[in-house]
């Protein structure tokens, strides 16, 4: 009897591991920054380079930090979703224009619409390193205390907005 059960058990174990493996996303590395204070930055605004924005300017507000670039192909597919999210005015959307040419970035926003309340420039990628950015686009959700509460790697889809972002933003807006 064992002769038949043993291969069956082995098969089941193998099948379970393979099935789990299919649903893993090895590209998504869990961020150690979750539930930590947002890394400090002070960077020139894309639309007004003489002005600077820092994370302290956003204290008391729930904000999204979206890393984007005009050279990034999947940012293009994400862009309409962000435009829609911006219309709902659920939270402030700050863009981090990552390792981009300012002119190309401005052209992109003119052509595709601008969902960002403000975009800041990170031409040499240093803010990106502080935020643990390794793949563009990435989106962080920061609460009123300036603590990172969620990170999404890769393009945000409208399902993500409905199922994850909007409920989380509503919850954070209710907090003090």
């Amino acid at each position: 009897m064992l002769k038949y059960i043993l291969p069956l058990l082995l098969f089941i174990v193998l099948a379970v591991f393979l099935a789990l493996g299919l649903n893993l996303h090895p590209n998504e590395i869990p961020s150690p920054l979750i539930n930590k204070s947002a890394p400090a930055f002070s960077a020139p605004k894309l639309q007004a380079p003489s002005e600077k924005l820092s994370q302290t300017d956003l204290k008391g507000k729930v904000w999204l930090f979206n890393v984007w670039a005009s050279w990034c192909a999947s940012c293009r597919s994400e862009h309409p979703v962000l435009n829609q999210l911006a219309q709902q005015k659920a939270a402030i959307i700050v863009g981090l224009n990552y390792k981009d040419e300012p002119e190309a970035a401005k052209g992109w926003l003119e052509q595709l619409g601008n969902p960002y309340d403000v975009s800041i420039m990170d031409q040499d990628g240093r803010i990106g390193i502080d935020w643990g950015v390794y793949g563009v686009p990435e989106t962080f959700v920061v609460d009123k205390q300036g603590v990172i509460r969620y990170k999404h790697t890769g393009p945000v889809t409208s399902e993500d907005v409905q199922q994850t972002f909007l409920p989380l933003i509503a919850k954070l807006q209710a907090e003090n």
Partner: protein
């Protein structure tokens, strides 16, 4: 023709070198620390390469970060800590042993034990299979069959 192609290749080799980064170190220890660190940190874009091997832009940025921190007199531990604070233990090719990475470290040992136990069980079963006891009645039968075979 041969000479011409050699000249052509020599000219082209200049282009190939143009992408190599040039770093200057204060002392050999610093250079060694740089080489050690960049070959122990994972490039997160192309996950099976170190930042020393990878051509990805992020890898170049992280190499620059390592270099600058060494210039500032930071220790290897400081720099490894800086990277794990931002990217997690995954950035280290040699992750520390803790609860979260326990399976990673103990996995090979566990599999080896499973293998040894399996080998032990299989060899023991084989041994018991070879020493089959035959009852007296059966032995009698075998003998009679053998005798019959002799007669024919």
């Amino acid at each position: 023709m041969k000479r011409l192609s050699i000249i052509l290749l020599l000219v082209l080799s200049g282009i190939a070198c143009a992408g190599v980064e040039y770093r200057e170190f204060a002392n050999p220890e610093q250079q060694e620390a740089y080489e050690n660190l960049t070959s122990e940190l994972r490039c997160l874009v192309c996950q099976n390469q170190t930042i020393a091997d990878s051509n990805a832009e992020l890898a170049a940025d992280l190499r620059r970060q390592v270099y600058e921190m060494l210039q500032q007199g930071k220790s290897k531990q400081d720099i490894a800590q800086f990277m794990t604070d931002r990217y997690g233990d995954f950035v280290l090719y040699n992750p520390p042993f803790k609860l979260k990475t326990g399976l990673l470290w103990m996995g090979p040992v566990v599999f080896l034990l499973i293998g040894l136990i399996a080998v032990f069980l299989f060899t023991r079963r084989k041994k018991t299979a070879t020493t089959v006891e035959i009852s007296a009645e059966k032995q009698q039968k075998i003998r009679s069959l053998l005798e019959k075979g002799d007669q024919s």
